[in-house]
């Protein structure tokens, strides 16, 4: 498992979650944050990664369905068992990364040039 990136499974959902939660992030910033979340999922302990994959795969399918935006938004806001933990993990990773990388980002994710810590 360790050799396969979970990017195809995780990135579309992470992008959708970030667009919903933090609309102030630019596309490039979302890409950067999502790439971080994918790296962390790739590094999960084996058993945990299998569990995450079992949840991420159907979530990926839902995200791919045209017009599923409302369903995905509902899933993001309503913590169903299992799915809720996946949402929580991606959100936790993303928020931790965003505010370490851009400590002065506004609460909708907008990063001013001065707030970019790089």
């Amino acid at each position: 498992m360790a050799g396969h990136s979970s990017r195809a499974l995780v990135d579309p959902f992470a992008q959708r979650l970030l667009s919903t939660d933090l609309p102030g992030l630019t596309r490039a910033q979302r890409d950067e944050v999502s790439a971080f979340a994918v790296r962390r999922v790739d590094g999960l302990p084996s058993a945990l990664r299998i569990g995450v994959t079992l949840i991420a795969a159907p979530m990926r399918l839902i995200v791919a369905v045209p017009g599923s935006g409302r369903i995905v938004s509902w899933l993001i806001r309503h913590p169903l068992p299992g799915v809720g933990e996946y949402v929580r993990m991606i959100r936790s990773l993303a928020y931790t990364y965003i505010w370490e990388r851009w400590p002065d980002a506004s609460t909708n994710g907008t990063v001013t040039a001065a707030g970019d810590s790089r």
Partner: protein, 489 residues
Amino acid sequence: MSADTPMHSIATLPRYDAEILVIGSGAGGATTAALLAEAGFDVLVVEEGEWVEQGSVVPFSLEQMDRQYRSGGVTVALGLPSIAYTEGRCAGGGTEVNSGLYRRPPAELLERWRTQYHIRDLDPDDIYAIADEIETAINVTTVPGPVSAPSAVLQRGADALGWENSESPRWMTYPPGGNAASGRRQSMTRTYLPRAHAAGARILTQCRVRKLAIDSTTARHADVTLADGSPARIAFRHVFVCGGAIHTPALLQRSGLRERIGDTLAVHPTVKLAARFRDKLNVPDDVPVHQVKEFAPDISFGGSASNPGLIALSLADNWRDFAHAQDDWERVSVYYAAITSQGKGRVKAVPGLRDPLVTYHLTARDKHLLRSGLSRLTLLMLAAGADEVYPSYRAAPVIRSAADIALLQQSFATTKATVMTVHLCSTVPLGEHPSCAADSFGKVRGMRNVWVNDASLLPEAPGVNPQGSVMAFAVRNARRFIESERPHG
């Protein structure tokens, strides 16, 4: 890496075989290696992670998690709720990344362990004499001058409520005239690993032990994977497994040793909150040194790392209602309530998987204590002058007054909370009681030359920061080994 770093790469290490193989270089492994090397044994330490010089990464940052934590810090014991935990994975193990707070094991706890688990020759006075030595070796000391502002919050709140609190000493050195911000951590890469190296021990980093080859009651060699991915074999006369409470039992199980191993994981579960104050107080790269022990050992309170990313993490479950605190992160700090759990967990190596499956089950009492702990911690924050308190669980209310705590008590459930721990113990408990997986000095039952000497041995989570207990038992057991296995010549 400095010129005197006692780390060896594949190219410079002349040979792998050793009289004593120590697997893991944290609080247990480093002390074991130093004592055995100083007694004249030929010691090889293998460490799965890399050697990271202190100061080369920002404490509690994501970069540190990438380089010095297992799985980037994202590790979970599955259960209802699941419990997030972290483990060091670097030279020095957890001592490189933890808070550095130091507590001796309570004497009454040692006495209870001695009788309950039938631990031979466990004398609290002996353990405390060892603790004296350790405290000198790693320079256990208090902060010179005033403590940091987030630490003063704990002191102020507890004093206002009449609750017992104290500054926990740390393994730190401070320069002359130094202050709370100028401490230098005396972790294993600064203390026992250089001692081991000076006494002739070899240290091989980025070397993962896949399994021990066991012939009846004797382990013959270790099958390892080196930094370049190539396999190798390390022969030894004795092996000390010191990979921590998760990976020590997992390695033993992968090697065919399963009886009573990995079935009794014990942790200190914690729940957290963020609190906002009128004045700026945040210290992004350090943790508070005060702990509140009014309800110990059942419940203890302390402070957590609070850089902006970790504040966002603690607010994320209720971002819509809590996000405004992120704008004020310099006035916010994160605190925890930790409990002594009566629950138990398991570590199971699963064939075909690299990492073990870890589970943990909280009891009804544990869940009650977590609720009670979070409520009392909230009260403590208000007593210290917090404007607003943000408990870390889904649908938590913002707490602005003591009257609001009733809302917390009504709405809290552990299944909604982010339950975490950094203290993992007891997966290969020592003692002569039939439930114990190792004998009174850490030798694995039924084995002639396989020893455990890390947090796995503690029969229970001790209710205080466990690293002092881990080191004291490691020194005790290493000395007993030296007495019984004097090196030739």
